[in-house]
């Protein structure tokens, strides 16, 4: 009896101990999914949790990255999300990703609720600059205002507030120099653990799709928020085509190993990681050489802490079938394009297709830069099958403001089963000042992708992104200023000169002289 009691007490004490003085924790996980046509999807997930110390005098960040901790503390950030990606996730072919991202970069932040809107605006600008500096990005939200305050989308499963700022920066290019600081935020860097696979970073950029993201959250431990913890989730998505990498041609299946793809193996686990797992989702899509430590349904789980204690490295070979089905299909597919373009304006059309047999409720978020002048009157939501106009559940439109903010459109829709809807809006080309054009004008001007939030009652909301569009604006010839000066000179000389002459000169008739007389007179003048 006493023993039992002691045992219970020890469990209780243990529980209290771990809850109150729990230190920094770190988990890492790599999920591998096999996709059709010998594509493989690698999803890295690193999760750090740091209980913020209560002391006001000093801050011991422990293993939590101080550079990020400083930013979120200084600007009073509650939540922060940054994604950087290269390539486009093919929703139709590859199904749903573990985490969606638009091409280029996307940044959103939720600020402390006690801040004033004005302070939030300045904190947002400054923090975006700090983030940009930290990751070597070129986000410049002051000169390229792209910020909106979304009302119905972006933050998942959370009460929406005015304290959120969202910006999507489609022209940001993701490169190794942005990845290095991202890796530096991991406690073990790329020295130990599954991040060892990221050592050869140029190899990572050979993938079809590459996305790195960072999600920070300040969490209250209790109702009164007397103690908080910082949570940082870093994820990395990679899609490789195994055939292209191994240079094999087999009609039925392709064989590859981790070493083939990353040119590196996992040899050690990060000593501070509590869990280091590799999850392999085979589900009748292929075979693997290494025996898993655990089997959940069709998922092979490799606990690397156990595995690497006995073996030198972890480098499984996988035989992948080519003709396989995507395990998780997208419930709604999205396609966006430019249509009806003429000299003055153009239309943007987004097709939304419900792939399900059930009704789906969605929120459509569109941010269009201010230099495309959008007319809300031209907004048409149509059922493509019946060609009937549809009244959306809700429309939230905030018109843009030149050089201050973009146009912001949110539409709530309920999609009928298997239906195709279209959202169409027209926009005029705006005129930029000659010094507002980006260095490379011929690249065109980006129109941000649409973010579609698919509301779900049972599960978490799903977010998918459309394509990024590129549009050309009327572009001047940049040697123009001097031409203008010359032209105005001429025009003014003609205009003003003749006016001045007419109003200040006397006009006299004179005898017409022949050449002889003219010459004579001229010589006479000369003689004088």
């Amino acid at each position: 009896m006493i023993l039992k009691f002691l045992f219970k007490l020890s469990i209780l004490l243990n529980f209290i101990f771990f809850n109150c003085t729990s230190a920094f924790t770190f988990n890492e996980k790599l999920t591998v999914n096999l996709l059709p046509n010998s594509n493989a999807y690698f999803f890295f997930e690193f999760k750090s949790i740091w209980p913020k110390s209560a002391s006001n005098n000093f801050e011991n960040y422990d293993l939590f990255p101080k550079r990020l901790g400083d930013i979120v503390s200084k600007f009073k950030v509650d939540e922060l999300s940054l994604t950087l990606s290269q390539g486009k996730w093919k929703y139709n072919e590859w199904g749903l990703p573990q985490k969606s991202a638009p091409s280029g970069s996307e940044l959103w932040t939720v600020f402390d609720e006690n801040l004033s809107q004005l302070k939030i605006d300045s904190n947002w600008l400054q923090s975006s600059r700090a983030i940009s500096g930290l990751f070597g990005l070129s986000i410049n939200l002051q000169e390229n205002p792209n910020t909106v305050v979304p009302k119905y989308s972006v933050v998942l499963n959370k009460n929406q507030s005015e304290n959120i700022r969202y910006a999507s920066i489609p022209n940001e290019i993701f490169c190794t120099e942005n990845l290095t600081p991202w890796i530096k935020l991991l406690p073990c860097g790329k020295n130990k653990g599954i991040a060892q696979l990221l050592k050869n970073s140029p190899k990572l950029f050979e993938s079809h799709y590459f996305m790195a993201s960072l999600f920070f959250k300040r969490k209250c431990n209790d109702q009164a928020c007397s103690s908080v913890q910082f949570e940082l989730v870093q994820t990395l998505s990679l899609v490789y085509n195994a055939d292209l990498i191994t240079r094999q041609l087999d009609d039925e299946e392709s064989t590859w190993s981790f070493n083939n793809i990353f040119q590196n193996k996992i040899t050690n686990v990060c000593p501070v990681a509590d869990v280091t797992n590799v999850l392999l989702n085979l589900k009748g899509k292929g075979k693997v050489t290494v025996m898993p430590t655990e089997k959940r349904d069709e998922m092979y789980v490799y606990n690397l802490k156990e595995l690497l204690a006995s073996s030198k490295d972890f480098n499984p070979s996988i035989v992948q079938k080519k003709n396989i089905q995507v395990s998780e299909k997208v419930p709604v597919s999205l396609h966006r394009y430019i249509t009806d373009k003429n000299e003055i304006n153009f239309g943007i059309k987004t097709l939304i297709k419900n792939e399900n047999d059930q009704e789906v409720s969605i929120v459509y978020l569109d941010t269009i830069p201010w230099y495309f002048r959008v007319y809300i009157s031209s907004l048409v939501v149509k059922d493509e099958d019946t060609s009937l106009n549809i009244k959306p559940d809700l429309i939230n439109f905030v018109p843009g403001w030149d050089r201050k903010k973009p146009h912001h459109l949110e539409v709530k829709l309920t999609l009928k089963p298997k239906s195709v809807y279209s959202v169409y809006i027209r926009a005029d080309f705006g005129y930029l000042k000659w010094d507002e054009f980006p260095p490379d004008v011929n690249h065109g001007f980006y129109i941000n992708p649409v973010l579609l939030t698919i509301k779900s009652n049972q599960k978490e909301d799903i977010q998918i992104y459309s394509e990024t569009l590129i549009m050309n604006l009327p572009t001047p010839d940049f040697s123009m200023p001097y031409n203008v000066i010359c032209l105005t000179c001429t025009v003014i000389a003609i205009g003003f000169g003749s006016l001045h002459n007419f109003t200040t000169r006397k006009f006299k008739f004179i005898q017409q002289k022949n050449l002889k007389e003219k010459l004579f007179e001229f010589l006479k003048k000369f003689k004088k």
Binding site: K66, R67, V272, I492, G497
Partner: protein, 564 residues
């Protein structure tokens, strides 16, 4: 053309026509000679010129000129002149706890000491005026003095109360025995025995000691001399070492751990509390500190390899003196960027995977000269930690020793001169006379720096006319000028802590004004462009107008002649 054809066909009719035409021409010409018309045309011309001068030229001038808010150039010039003589009043208070000293003796001591202190005082340059007061310790003070645990608490409670006054304390034999002060050169405490016998030589010594050890007279004189020499702008020795002055400092303690499998913790929280917080609290009324700590695992020193000392019983790795800068660079790249602009101290504890690792000052003889830490000027310090020297089995790393070293580094990098005669060098507190010395030195330095900055700024702005001066820069300059003036005044009045705070404001505002990027905004815009943009105004409009001035002059002349 038609007329020429007509001439060739029938000369007679042509002549007739010509005559007729001529008479008509004459008629029109005569009409044109009409005075009224002539006057009207002249008025038109004058009107054009006036519009050009009154509207056109000002528009051109104001749209192309740069905005320049007015600056107090006169006050800046006056401040520069006032640099030739800066005076500080040093208020010294002698508190004696010795009941045996008679009032008579005491006043003699006072006069003699004051004479010694004010001896050799200069008329120009940096002038220190001493003011000496004596008083008996109150019975409260005496009683509490008997109860204090150590000298540090004594200093905190008796001497530290008013930092505008430099305290000399005379203890009696009981108290000096209690605090174990046997030698008069120790700390700020003067032995009672010494002062009982009025020995002029001793008083002279005390005066010397006060000037040298407490006020660092030589150093501040050198500082003053170098700062005044604006032609050469040589940095002083201290300038090269001390972290840039700022109103806020960020102190970061980093642990770079290459053996996280074995050592997982460090007792940094406890160490910061027991070593750093006391010192930063003491200075907190003058400057702000934010203290942070972080742990980093593994380091990447590229292709860099450590030297090793091979011996049978005691082999070790070591860093050569020349390696230290390379090492510091690698470590700094690992530490990452900071977001605040305040001055920073970086203190790094490094646990190498190669054990043991030392720093050798002499690579010829690493065995003899090995140490564990080095200070990086204007940056911080690095401590190489070897668990085997401490307690190799404990998974917690005890950084007490490192912290003591860092504290010494910190005090040096802050620019605080410790009393050389004080007993223990790595210590957890600064004494009040040391803070007084720091305040005096920094006040002077800030005053000199901000006046120099203001002068450079005013020179720059008067020389380059196309520099924009925005209102907020003018505001910063105004604040700087006012604060320097106030600080100089307070300094000569002996209120050193207020003088310091004002000099701090002056320094920060003047730097902010000088480095504001708006000053450079239009500098790249060359002068000739101002004309180029308005060439359409100048050439096609200006030239006809200038040419018509001649006829207007002639017209006015003829008018005048007529009047006469």
């Amino acid at each position: 053309m038609a007329e020429t054809e007509a001439t060739s066909d029938s000369p007679q009719t042509n002549n007739q026509q010509l005559n007729e035409e001529e008479s008509e021409i004459d008629k029109v010409n005569k009409q044109n000679e009409n005075k009224k018309l002539h006057d009207l045309l002249m008025f038109n011309t004058i009107y054009y010129i006036l519009v050009f001068v009154i509207v056109g030229l000002p528009i051109w001038f104001f749209t192309t000129s740069t905005y320049r808010a007015s600056l107090p150039f006169d006050s800046i010039d006056k401040l520069t002149e006032s640099l030739q003589k800066i005076d500080f009043k040093i208020q010294v208070e002698l508190i004696h706890f010795n009941k045996d000293i008679s009032q008579d003796n005491l006043s003699k001591i006072r006069d003699e000491l004051l004479r010694n202190l004010n001896k050799n005082s200069k008329q120009k340059g940096l002038v220190l005026n001493f003011d000496l007061k004596t008083r008996k310790a109150t019975s409260d003070e005496y009683n509490s003095a008997l109860g204090f645990r150590d000298i540090q608490t004594f200093d905190e409670n008796i001497a530290n109360k008013n930092l505008n006054i430099l305290n000399l304390i005379v203890l009696d034999s009981d108290l000096s025995k209690k605090y174990e002060i046997l030698d008069n050169s120790e700390f700020l405490f003067l032995n009672s025995l010494l002062l009982n016998e009025i020995n002029i030589k001793n008083l002279e010594k005390i005066a010397e000691y006060l000037k040298k050890q407490y006020l660092h007279l030589e150093k501040i004189n050198e500082e003053y001399r170098l700062k005044l020499d604006t032609e050469r702008r040589l940095p002083s020795k201290k300038d090269l070492k001390v972290v840039n002055f700022d109103s806020e400092y960020e102190i970061t303690f980093s642990l770079i751990n290459e053996i996280p499998e074995k050592y997982s913790n460090w007792n940094i929280d406890e160490c910061i509390r027991s070593y750093f917080l006391k010192v930063t609290d003491q200075l907190s009324q003058f400057v702000n500190f934010s203290i942070k700590a972080q742990t980093l695992l593994y380091s990447d020193f590229g292709s860099y390899s450590l030297s090793s000392y091979k011996s049978d019983n005691d082999p070790f790795f070591y860093l050569k003196q020349t390696d230290l800068s390379i090492m510091t660079n690698y470590i700094e790249s690992r530490l990452g960027s900071r977001i605040s602009d305040s001055s920073a101290f970086e203190f790094v504890t490094y646990i190498s995977a190669k054990q043991p690792l030392y720093v050798a000052t002499n690579s010829q003889n690493p065995q003899e000269t090995k140490s564990v830490s080095f200070m990086v000027p204007r940056w911080g310090g690095i401590y190489v930690y070897n668990p085997q020297d401490d307690n190799p089995e404990d998974s917690t790393i005890k950084v007490d020793k490192a912290m003591k070293t860092f504290l010494t580094h910190f005090i040096t990098l802050m620019g605080i001169d410790l009393n050389k005669n004080s007993k223990t060098v790595p210590r957890s507190r600064i004494y009040s006379p040391e803070i007084y010395g720091y305040l005096l030195e920094k006040t002077l330095e800030n005053q000199l720096n901000s006046i120099n900055t203001l002068r450079s700024l005013s020179l720059l702005l008067t020389r380059i006319n196309s520099m924009v001066i925005e209102d907020d820069i003018a505001e910063q300059v105004k604040i700087a000028v006012e604060s320097v003036e106030k600080s100089l005044e307070l300094g000569s009045d002996g209120r050193i802590s207020e003088a310091f705070l004002n000099s701090k404001t002056a320094f920060i505002s003047s730097e902010r004004a000088f480095f504001d990027k708006s000053l450079l905004e239009k500098l790249y815009f060359p002068e000739d462009q101002r004309f180029a943009i308005y060439i359409p105004l100048f050439i096609p409009v200006g030239i006809p107008l200038v040419l018509s001035i001649k006829s207007v002059m002639a017209w006015i002349k003829s008018k005048k002649e007529k009047k006469d």
